[in-house]
């Protein structure tokens, strides 16, 4: 045990080393070498993580102290790593999926020139490093370091093709929206510090210190933390950056914007479950926001035509599900869904990457179709992903989603039914995507058709592995009702204490059955609708509303950005130059004016001078003798 724990520092440091090698030596390294290095370090981390996992799965946990980051005698922030079941699970996801995506990238990014290629891997490694810091941090500050770090890497990677202004716009948007969330996180952090004087998980999540917090404190802190989570995990109102973030290379979307970074919010709330369980109002808000996001994103996804956009909105929607789970206190379900989602969403993103690769960069599904013939592995693995996300029994998504639904049902029937509806939409749009892309006739140009080919091994192997994982990933959490033991729940139990739902087995069966049947119906509907897809005209009414993403971006532009700009312009043009500078210069002008006026007193005539002197005397005499 101890030996491995002593080595945990290597887990983040390895990717950091990879980053430094790739970053500093990007001119010297060949593409192959930097690809190897980039992947190898992550693999190394994965191996270590796995070793750690072997240790902690028996219930052990540890806080590893390195040095004091900040030490004021009254207040300390330690540089600590917290190694427990939750963090280890995330370690595995990050390094595991991360490794696969690194491998995939070596092939996907092959067209980039050498320096940029190395830069790409450097960024990717830096991302892994930050994400590892985020989950391993032993206190909120270290988590925050990772938290902002992943935001930065996301920014860098979205803007990877920096010549395109739209892409860099998207990158800025992502960073800024994340920062808004970060502010919430920070404020929560300050609140905690001012109340408890510490940021250490081990000190905060004890009954004794939680008791020190008033109800108002708890609500406030959890709400602010949740604001942080909405930023990172793309929930209403801060979700719009995620679809735009698809500007980055596809593997990046897979890793950052599907599997890992966006789940940071869930991780954080799961990590603080002790706190959130005490805040019922916050929980309600979380579930409402989650649900609304799930619905909204799902509805938008129906009408999107960019393959990655659909996946992006689906991610937002799935994250919404996870928040519903968090809101209902069902932390294990949320984490479970993170796990399965990481598999199938990464799979689908990589699959879409494979498609895009084959299509020579084309992302519009309307110009695809019938790709199944040309790229079987991609198609099949993508289908597995779709099945998994739709919650077809047997696939991983089924188990996790079902758990969320069960939790929602335990909470309220209304919540359950809306969540279910969102799940049905998921199935619908995913299959819409699949059907339009992979079945039917090819609708692209001849050139494209000619070049269609299955992707190289470095891409397909990760697809296959993820495909397998998307199937079997769910079996770590088979619920009791299906004869399982829910190993995940047991594994996480030292850290995460979910709310208990006492649903009878019958009810659970009934729910599963209902959702399965409805999902199948939904899929069939999609099949019926898009089997013979041809390019549609302008959508109208609701359709156009959906196609334009409910005009959320435009609304933000109207109610936030434009006023901000006008205020800034007002500050700049009126207050700064007229009022403040005007006042300062005005004093100068006044003096100048006074100077010009006072000069007339100096008339040059003795009589005038004497007269003024006499008047001066008069005033002085008057003051002295009569006042």
């Amino acid at each position: 045990m101890n030996n491995i724990i002593k080595l945990v520092w290597l887990i983040p440091v390895l990717p950091l080393i990879g980053f430094l090698i790739n970053g500093l030596g990007r001119k010297a390294l060949s593409k192959t070498l930097s690809g190897y290095i980039g992947s190898a370090v992550v693999l190394g981390s994965f191996v270590l993580s796995f070793l750690v996992f072997l240790q902690v799965k028996n219930g052990a946990s540890a806080t590893v102290h390195f040095f004091n980051f900040i030490d004021l005698s009254t207040f300390k922030i330690a540089f600590d790593f917290k190694i427990d079941q939750l963090s280890t699970l995330f370690l595995l996801i990050i390094t595991g999926v991360g490794f696969l995506i690194h491998v995939y990238s070596t092939a996907y990014m092959h067209d980039e020139e050498g320096m940029n290629f190395a830069k790409y891997f450097a960024y990717l490694n830096l991302f892994v490093f930050s994400m590892l810091l985020l989950v391993m941090g032993g206190n909120f500050v270290i988590m925050f370091i990772g938290w902002e770090g992943v935001g930065l890497c996301s920014y860098l990677l979205i803007g990877y093709w920096y010549r395109n202004t739209n892409y860099t716009d998207a990158a800025n948007k992502a960073f800024i929206m994340n920062r808004i969330g970060d502010l919430g996180f920070l404020l929560a952090l300050f609140w905690l510090i001012s109340k408890l004087g510490t940021v250490q998980y081990d000190d905060i999540f004890t009954t004794a210190s939680l008791a020190k917090l008033s109800a108002k404190d708890i609500t406030g802190i959890t709400l602010l933390l949740f604001v942080g989570a909405t930023g990172k995990s793309a929930q209403i109102p801060l979700f719009t950056w995620l679809p735009d973030a698809m500007a980055g290379p596809t593997p990046v979307s897979a890793l950052i914007h599907a599997a890992t970074m966006v789940t940071a919010g869930i991780y954080m709330i799961a990590r603080s479950n002790a706190l959130f369980s005490l805040a019922h109002q916050t929980q309600t808000i979380i579930s409402i926001v989650g649900l609304a996001t799930a619905l909204l994103a799902a509805s938008i996804a129906i009408k999107q035509n960019d393959i990655k956009k659909v996946l992006a909105y689906s991610t937002v929607s799935q994250l919404g599900f996870m928040f519903v789970a968090l809101g209902t206190g069902n932390y294990v379900a949320a984490v479970f869904h993170v796990l399965t989602h990481a598999f199938f969403k990464a799979l689908m993103f990589l699959g879409s990457g494979s498609v895009i690769h084959a299509m020579g960069g084309e992302q519009d599904i309307r110009k695809m179709g019938g790709l199944h013939k040309h790229m079987k592995i991609t198609s099949i693995t993508f289908l597995i992903g779709c099945l998994a996300i739709s919650g077809i029994p047997g696939f991983s998504g089924f188990f996790s989603k079902d758990e969320i639904l069960a939790g929602a049902y335990g909470h309220s029937t209304l919540l359950y039914s809306i969540t279910l509806f969102a799940a049905l939409l998921t199935a619908f749009y995913m299959f819409r995507l699949y059907i339009i892309t992979f079945t039917g006739k090819f609708r692209g140009t001849h050139d494209q058709e000619h070049h269609l080919h299955e992707s190289p091994k470095a891409m397909t192997i990760p697809l296959i592995i993820l495909g397998i994982l998307s199937v079997i990933g769910g079996y770590v959490g088979v619920p009791e009702v299906l004869g399982g033991h829910h190993e995940l729940a047991a594994y996480l139990s030292p850290v995460v204490k979910s709310a208990e739902h006492h649903l009878s087995h019958n009810t659970e069966f009934m729910l599963m059955g209902l959702s399965t049947i409805l999902v199948v119906i939904s899929i069939s509907f999609a099949w019926a609708r898009f089997r013979n897809y041809s390019i549609e005209g302008e959508a109208k009414g609701l359709g156009s509303l959906l196609e334009n993403k409910w005009y959320v971006d435009e609304i933000y532009q109207k109610i936030i950005l434009n006023p901000l700009k006008s205020i800034s312009a007002f500050f700049n043009n009126i207050i700064e130059s007229k009022l403040i500078d005007g006042a300062v210069n005005g004093v100068g002008k006044m003096i100048n004016y006074g100077s010009r006026q006072l000069r007339w007193l100096q008339s040059g005539q003795v009589g005038g001078y004497v007269l003024l002197m006499v008047i001066g005397m008069l005033i002085l005499f008057f003051i002295q003798l009569f006042l």
Partner: protein, 463 residues
């Protein structure tokens, strides 16, 4: 005593020198020699507390350390003045010896007003200062400006003399001791007698006139502008400070105990002076005239000493005497070398004449009151005095805000010297002789030294 008598005697010597010596440049050396003698003898008097001359002057003068140290400072500054601009005096007109004689008489008058103990001596002293100055102002007979200045100065000066005498008469009338001695004026209990109050007002007005405090300052810009530059230099520095010294001495010893009854008048005058001096100076285009207004502005600061009337004020007035005189003398010295007195006339001076530029900059910085210059120390002591006084605190804030404004017009000259390019139409001085440059450097160095270590000046008064 030494200064008084020796400078009177040397004035006589210079007068005869004017008659018998035909060369124009010789009187300067004689004057420097004489002034050195006067200075040294005064220093000896200050150090030994013994005068060379013993006769009963009925306690009409008071040669305490403070007064003597002021005289020493004044004599020293005048010596610097002679050394720097002695050769300029030669250029004013034909009567070189006479000019020097008049300056010595002025010094004689200054040593009276610095030590007077009775109102009579004050009056005579002031007249001995004024009359030679009227003449010096008008000494450039060919110049109508000089004529005009002399006439204005004379008429207004005579007018103010009348006012001062009226004041003295009232003070005498209100004084039951029937004495002109300033420390024998009885103020009674409570409010001072009305007669004395009226007298005080008259005297205040005429002293304000002498030190060019507003609203009795109107003669200053015109006279300083019209007089030959080299004499303006003397008038605006040494003489002006002497006026303040007399002002301070009179009001401290005669009216000090009822200060609370007239302080508000000083406040009024001070604020008006600061306002008019600083604000009007802003718009001036001629450096000479700007300096005239700035001398009014500086007077506003010196008035704080009268306002405060405490030990710090005395130290401050000594420092001001040294700092302000040196800077003024230096600056006017530079000005005498300039062809064009407008601010634009200084454009690019630093490039053409680096020494002149640097020295002028230091003088201007000192006048502004930038630390490490003597000007700062003097302002600092004045502020300290005013704050120590404890009444009307706001006047200090007004004073420093106006000091900030003063930076505006002083720095315009600095900007011209350093940051602007010389235009072809403006003639900058070409050949400046080495002694002049050396003197400028010496003055600048003195200003800096006093700025760092002001006890060099005020230490005298504690001897």
């Amino acid at each position: 005593m030494n200064a008084l008598i020796l400078s009177a005697i040397w004035g006589l010597v210079m007068m005869f020198c004017g008659v018998f010596v035909k060369s124009k440049s010789i009187p300067k050396y004689i004057a420097v020699l004489g002034l050195s003698i006067v200075l040294i003898s005064s220093m000896i008097e200050l150090l030994t507390k013994k005068s060379f001359f013993h006769f009963g002057y009925n306690n009409m003068l008071n040669t305490e350390g403070f007064n003597l140290s002021f005289i020493v400072i004044i004599l020293f500054c005048t010596l610097i003045y002679f050394l720097l601009t002695g050769s300029e005096i030669e250029k004013v007109g034909a009567h070189v010896g006479e000019y020097f004689a008049l300056i010595f008489f002025v010094l004689c008058g200054i040593s009276i007003v610095a030590t007077f103990n009775t109102l009579l001596m004050l009056f005579i002293g002031i007249e001995i200062i004024s009359i030679p100055l009227y003449i010096l102002t008008g000494s450039d007979k060919r110049n109508l400006k000089s004529n005009e200045a002399a006439l204005k100065y004379f008429l207004m000066g005579a007018f103010s003399t009348g006012i001062m005498l009226m004041g003295i008469a009232f003070i005498y009338g209100g004084n039951p001791n029937a004495s002109f001695y300033i420390d024998k004026i009885e103020m009674g209990i409570g409010h001072m007698p009305v007669l004395i109050a009226v007298g005080l007002l008259f005297v205040l007005v005429s002293m304000s006139f002498k030190v060019s405090a507003a609203p009795f300052h109107f003669w200053t810009p015109d006279v300083y502008d019209g007089a030959p530059t080299v004499f303006t230099s003397f008038m605006s520095s040494v003489v002006k400070v002497a006026g303040f010294f007399a002002f301070l001495r009179l009001f401290e010893h005669a009216f000090g105990i009822v200060q609370d009854q007239w302080q508000v008048l000083i406040v009024f005058i001070t604020v008006a002076t600061l306002l008019i001096g600083n604000v009007t100076a802003v718009f001036q285009q001629s450096v000479k005239r700007m300096l005239a207004y700035s001398s009014i502005a500086q007077a506003g600061f010196m008035l704080l000493a009268i306002f405060a009337l405490n030990d710090k004020a005395k130290e401050g007035i000594l420092l001001y005497a040294a700092a302000y005189s040196l800077a003024s003398i230096g600056l006017f010295g530079v000005l005498t070398k300039m062809e064009d007195y407008t601010i634009d006339g200084f454009n690019g001076l630093a490039k053409e004449q680096p020494v002149l530029g640097l020295a002028a900059t230091i003088f201007l910085l000192s006048l502004t009151g930038i630390p490490l210059t003597a000007g700062f120390q003097s302002k600092f002591f004045m502020l300290m005095a005013a704050i120590q006084n404890g009444h009307h605190f706001w006047i200090v804030i007004v004073a420093v805000l106006f000091a900030a404004i003063s930076a505006y017009y002083y720095f315009r000259v600095i900007q011209a010297i350093y940051f602007k390019e010389a235009t072809k139409t403006i003639i900058l001085p070409h050949s400046i002789n080495i002694p002049f440059k050396i003197m400028l450097i010496v003055i600048a160095a003195l200003i800096l030294i006093i700025g760092v270590y002001p006890e060099l000046v005020i230490g005298w008064m504690y001897r």
